[in-house]
């Protein structure tokens, strides 16, 4: 065969762009996962038209090699489309449907064009199929990537939210930790705590680990780091909220917490903190 595979696709795009577009859009809108509730028909039509144009331009230049630089406009559109649809609430299959639904009309056209030459037809269909598969997979990848970006952003937001430093009393700070401590979080916790120590001039900080699900050697090390940093600035730390299981784990793991004052509850820690700052809490009048 003189014509390289994929060239027929270009011919079809040249000759029958309008018909192809009409059948494709029709197909896409009728498909079960078209999500007409999330996207307008006009938008779909516009996206399809744009895609066909870019596809043609890329196929003319670089054949069916999707990784080539000439295909960048197509990839770019797919990336944009995928992340947009991921945000709108499309599922991955519904997003990939955009590319895969082109198969049917395109193959139909190929059959009409080539007619009865089975070998050529098979070759062309294979080439077109591979091309669309690659593009479809690319959509899914882009979809996933945009989802991961969302997750990363949420993680960051959660990190900010979950490390509050509260002032319990004049000169006494409390740091209720919730969730697992990893090194990234320790960094944020440490920075927040030290910053607040500077701002409030607190001399005692209570780190409450009631909300920390597990304490392993790494978490303990992170805690000790935070305590050491606070101490360097002139503030003492008390660890509170140690649950029975956690106490057992700490001892079994051989974590050295001797240098740190530890208390079972935040109330105990607060009492110690008050005592150290020379304050006392008493009843205003004797109870009846």
């Amino acid at each position: 065969m003189a014509t390289p595979s994929g060239s027929r696709v270009v011919q079809i795009l040249d000759k029958h762009e309008h018909e192809l577009l009409t059948t494709w859009v029709d197909k896409l809108l009728k498909a079960p996962g078209s999500r007409r509730d999330l996207i307008r028909e006009a938008d779909v039509r516009e996206q399809c038209q744009d895609f066909l144009r870019r596809l043609r331009a890329a196929a003319v230049q670089a054949g069916v090699d999707v990784d080539a630089a000439a295909w960048e406009p197509v990839r770019e559109q797919l990336r944009q489309l995928s992340s947009e649809r991921a945000r709108q609430g499309f599922t991955p299959s519904e997003t990939a449907l955009f590319v895969y639904s082109l198969k049917d009309p395109l193959f139909g056209r190929l059959r009409q064009e080539i007619g009865h030459d089975a070998t050529v037809l098979a070759d062309e269909m294979w080439a077109a199929s591979v091309l669309l598969d690659r593009l479809g997979l690319y959509t899914t990848e882009a979809y996933q990537q945009s989802r991961e970006e969302v997750i990363a952003r949420q993680n960051e937001a959660m990190l900010e939210l979950s490390t509050p430093v509260v002032e319990l009393w004049d000169g006494i700070l409390a740091l209720p930790l919730i969730g697992t401590l990893d090194s990234a979080r320790t960094q944020v916790v440490m920075e927040n705590l030290l910053q607040r120590i500077v701002e409030t001039g607190a001399s005692i900080a209570i780190i409450d680990i009631t909300g920390v699900p597990t304490v392993d050697t790494l978490v303990a090390q992170h805690l000790l780091k935070t305590i050491a940093a606070a101490r360097l600035m002139g503030a003492d730390c008390i660890i509170s909220g140690i649950r029975p299981q956690i106490a057992q784990t700490i001892v079994h793991l051989g974590v050295e917490l001797q240098s740190v004052v530890t208390k079972a509850t935040l109330a105990d820690a607060f009492a110690i903190a008050l005592q150290r700052t020379g304050l006392a809490v008493g009843r205003a009048r004797p109870q009846a």
């Binding site: 960094q187 440490m190 500077v198 001039g201 607190a202 940093a229 360097l232 600035m233």
Partner: protein, 135 residues
């Protein structure tokens, strides 16, 4: 400020005050160590207060020098308190694995003076009344 080759050491009663206002480099740190130990002996100081609130950059050498100064002063029977370490400096030192465990720390100069007075006060009263305590 690159031409600073000595950090002044101020004697105040039985304490020595050192305020580090410039970026420490290694030679400056060594000079400070020499001067300070000499001053502790000369003035028979009971406490050393090192204010590092202007210090923005530390490395492991400066950290170790601080720890050494504290250890040397203790040998000479003077308590060392490091004052006003910045959060970034504290984090850096901890990440370097230096928690300066032998050094006492305070957030403000007032509190450091209180600490020094408290630790020295029990042994040296010399008739000085408690009214001398600052607010």
């Amino acid at each position: 400020m690159a031409d600073v080759d000595r950090i002044p050491i101020i004697k105040m009663g039985e304490f020595l005050l050192v305020s580090i206002q410039v970026d420490m480099h290694d030679r400056l740190a060594m000079t400070l160590q020499d001067d300070l130990t000499a001053s502790v002996v000369k003035h028979r100081a009971r406490g050393v207060l090192i204010d590092i609130s202007s210090l923005e950059i530390v490395d492991s050498f400066i950290g170790r020098t601080l720890a050494n100064i504290a250890a040397m002063s203790r040998v000479l029977d003077a308590e060392t308190v490091v004052v006003g370490m910045r959060p970034a400096v504290a984090i850096t030192l901890v990440e370097l694995g230096m928690s300066l465990s032998g050094v006492r720390t305070a957030l403000t100069v007032e509190r450091a003076m209180e600490m020094l007075r408290a630790s020295v006060g029990e042994t040296v009263h010399q008739g000085r009344a408690h009214a001398a305590h600052p607010e």
